[in-house]
């Protein structure tokens, strides 16, 4: 499992380095004023990146020779994999909910969007105590707005709520 992961990292890194290399070639060079040019340093960085990928490949090969991951039985492994899949779906749901929050952040305003966002998350992860979730989700954004907007001069979006 570990070896496969490292191989995937190496493959993704090589593809990323190739894309970076292509983009570096597209940078316009000027004939005057800058003898070194804006491409040289990125080329050096790209070489370093590829070197890192090659070292990782070497490390994954030598670890394959010395370790064998046969100690975990099939049943616990399947259960672990199922749990990991569920976790991935949970993380995807949280990221999706956060993205939705960011999309409406300016339109709805800081307070309305944050109250809704917090309420959704706390109801999911602090189950059974909806009164506390509701109180925290309503009060903290208002307190946050007062502190950041008025005390620290951070201009948070007002959105639909006239503030």
């Amino acid at each position: 499992m570990e070896i496969n992961r490292d191989r995937i990292i190496v493959a993704v890194s090589i593809v990323f380095a190739a894309a970076y290399l292509y983009a570096t070639g597209q940078i316009t060079m000027l004939d005057f004023g800058d003898p070194i040019g804006p491409r040289l340093f990125p080329y050096v960085v790209c070489s370093l990146f590829v070197l890192g990928a090659l070292i990782l490949l070497l490390e994954s090969r030598s670890s394959r020779r010395t370790t064998a991951d046969d100690s975990i039985a099939d049943a616990p492994r399947q259960s672990k994999n199922a749990q990991q899949r569920r976790s991935i779906w949970m993380i995807a749901a949280v990221l999706g909910w956060t993205l939705l929050y960011l999309l409406v952040f300016e339109r709805l305003g800081y307070i309305i969007s944050t109250v809704t966002f917090l309420l959704g998350l706390t109801l999911c992860f602090y189950r059974g105590r909806w009164q506390i979730s509701l109180a925290v989700s309503a009060l903290v954004p208002i307190l946050g707005y007062l502190v950041f907007h008025h005390l620290l001069n951070v201009n948070l979006p007002a959105g639909l709520m006239p503030l």
Partner: protein
């Protein structure tokens, strides 16, 4: 004599009521950030940086540095009570500190953590005061080539020491450098890797990346542990909040030794507080007459590592202030904070702004004293933060992260960047790719490129300029050793002959770090 005047003037600066207030605010916030498990000092500083916009630079930097060393004090609380280090460098404290708490000696563990931190932290600041001037004077001889090699050395150290795999460390550093090249090139004015997105013309902001990779990623991991039902529960403090005479006698040696170890390791780029704490723990275990008691509630296992990780912060300030080179992710964020205020740490800052430099250094004496006063009588109050349900805490951290990221440029685009880097930080953690090399490279990338191009311009494109002086050659050799040393050592250890040599000559005296950290 002139230096002595500057040091005294530094006290005059840091004792001004405003600066004193911000020292207090900084160490208080640092303690709170340290107590809360998962939010390290790097994320804490990155989150609070936007709040310092418009502040006087001296007051702001005194406060930010206060958060840095204050977090080390607070980190021990979570380590002792829930066996999860609040700050990564408290990982060793969780081994014996938690066992002490189970035996009803949580108060003693927290007290020695605070006292040890104070003694070693103050020792570290004295050493910082002594070493700062000679080092900054030596750094004045550095030209662009030497500076480039110095930055390269810092980066190689962090890449090779930050994780288990050298390859992953280099990939992380390389990605950070790639991100640093995004935006308008300072010398030619050409756009690079902007992809038609106007917001990327100014580059990728390190605050946004720090908030994403540290705070947002930690929230994702925390919510995942709640979902899996393996979130840690805090223990109650039982017993007296003070040490017995015997415990004090056993602790004083580890505190002194931890202070020295921590400061020396702190100076090295890449090593950081965690390695200081591990080194101190291993040293104490070797010196102990009862090494078998370690891991079962030995107070030496709390006193030494806690002292070491606090002295480490003063050590880490040496290369940051004198050379302008950070050695880890928190000092990289600190360097970013200096640059944000238009200040470049290094030898010239000692000449141009001695009031600011010595004001910050001297505020660390005051800050350590405030931390001792705060942490001994108020420890019961801080521990209450650990009883905040994680299901409420993590969503709140996420909304604070959003405010922090939005406040940088008042742009929603930055929030998307933050979310992307939050996901990347989560994936990095799962794949065991170290994050500090990426952040360090992102902060240092621009300076590194400018030094690189300036050195080549001066030498008319001759690359031998990077081995053209003794300083360059020494730094190059040190970079190669730091990069290939751990890799070569790990390859050597794989040889069967060497393995048999190691097993016959040395008992297994390394603590099981992973085990302590995972629980």
């Amino acid at each position: 004599m002139e230096t002595f005047d500057h040091i005294l003037n530094g006290f005059a600066v840091c004792l001004q009521p405003t600066n004193l207030l911000f020292t207090f605010v900084g160490v208080l916030l640092g303690t709170i950030i340290g107590v809360l498990p998962g939010i390290g000092s790097a994320a804490g500083i990155a989150l609070l940086l936007p709040a310092t916009f418009g502040m006087d630079p001296t007051a702001a930097l005194i406060m930010i540095c206060g958060i840095f060393y204050g977090a080390k004090y607070g980190g021990s609380t979570a380590a002792v009570l829930i066996r999860t280090p609040g700050d990564a460098s408290s990982v060793m404290t969780s081994l014996d500190g938690y066992e002490m708490a189970r035996k009803g000696r949580a108060g003693a563990a927290l007290a020695i953590a605070a006292i040890g931190s104070f003694i070693a932290g103050s020792m570290g600041v004295v050493a910082l005061t002594v070493f700062a001037v000679p080092l900054s004077s030596a750094a004045l001889k550095f030209g662009p080539a030497e500076y480039f090699m110095l930055l390269l050395f810092a980066m190689t150290c962090v890449s090779s020491l930050a994780g288990k795999s050298l390859g992953k460390g280099i990939l992380s550093a390389g990605l950070g450098l790639m991100l640093a090249t995004v935006g308008i090139d300072l010398q030619s004015g050409q756009q690079r890797y902007v992809m038609g997105i106007i917001e990327l013309q100014d580059g990728v902001n390190f605050i946004i990346v720090s908030v994403g990779m540290f705070a947002v990623a930690q929230v994702l991991r925390g919510l995942e542990s709640i979902y899996r039902g393996d979130a840690a529960q805090a223990m109650k403090i039982n017993g007296p909040l003070w040490l017995t005479r015997e415990e004090w006698r056993r602790s004083i040696g580890p505190v002194w030794r931890g202070g020295i170890i921590g400061f020396l390791i702190g100076i090295l780029p890449g090593a950081g507080g965690t390695i200081s704490a591990i080194m101190s723990y291993v040293t104490e275990r070797r010196l102990s007459k009862n090494p078998e008691s370690f891991g079962k509630g030995a107070i030496e296992g709390v006193a030494g590592p806690e002292a070491a990780n606090n002295a480490d912060t003063a050590g880490a300030m040496v290369p940051l202030l004198t050379l302008g080179v950070p050695g880890g992710s928190t000092t990289a964020v600190l360097l970013g904070a200096f640059i944000m205020f238009g200040l470049q740490p290094g030898p010239l800052l000692f000449q141009e702004r001695p009031d600011l430099v010595w004001g910050i250094v001297d505020s660390m004496y005051i800050g350590n004293l405030i931390l001792l006063i705060l942490n001994l009588p108020l420890i019961a109050l801080f521990t209450r933060l650990l009883y905040i349900p994680n299901g409420l805490l993590y969503p709140l951290i996420l909304t604070i992260s959003v405010i922090g990221a939005f406040a940088v440029n008042l742009s929603t685009f930055d929030l998307y960047i933050m979310l992307i880097f939050g996901l990347l930080g989560y994936v990095f953690e799962k794949l065991e790719i170290p994050i500090p090399p990426l952040l360090l490279s992102l902060v240092l990338g621009e300076m590194m490129e400018q030094s690189f191009r300036r050195a080549l311009t001066i030498s008319n494109g001759d690359a031998t300029v990077f081995v053209g002086s003794q300083i360059c050659v020494v730094l190059l050799i040190m970079s190669v050793i730091s990069l290939l040393g751990p890799f070569g050592w790990s390859q050597l250890k794989r040889l069967r002959v060497f393995q048999s040599l190691l097993s016959s000559n040395r008992p297994s005296d390394k603590p099981e770090i992973g085990a302590g950290n995972a629980k």
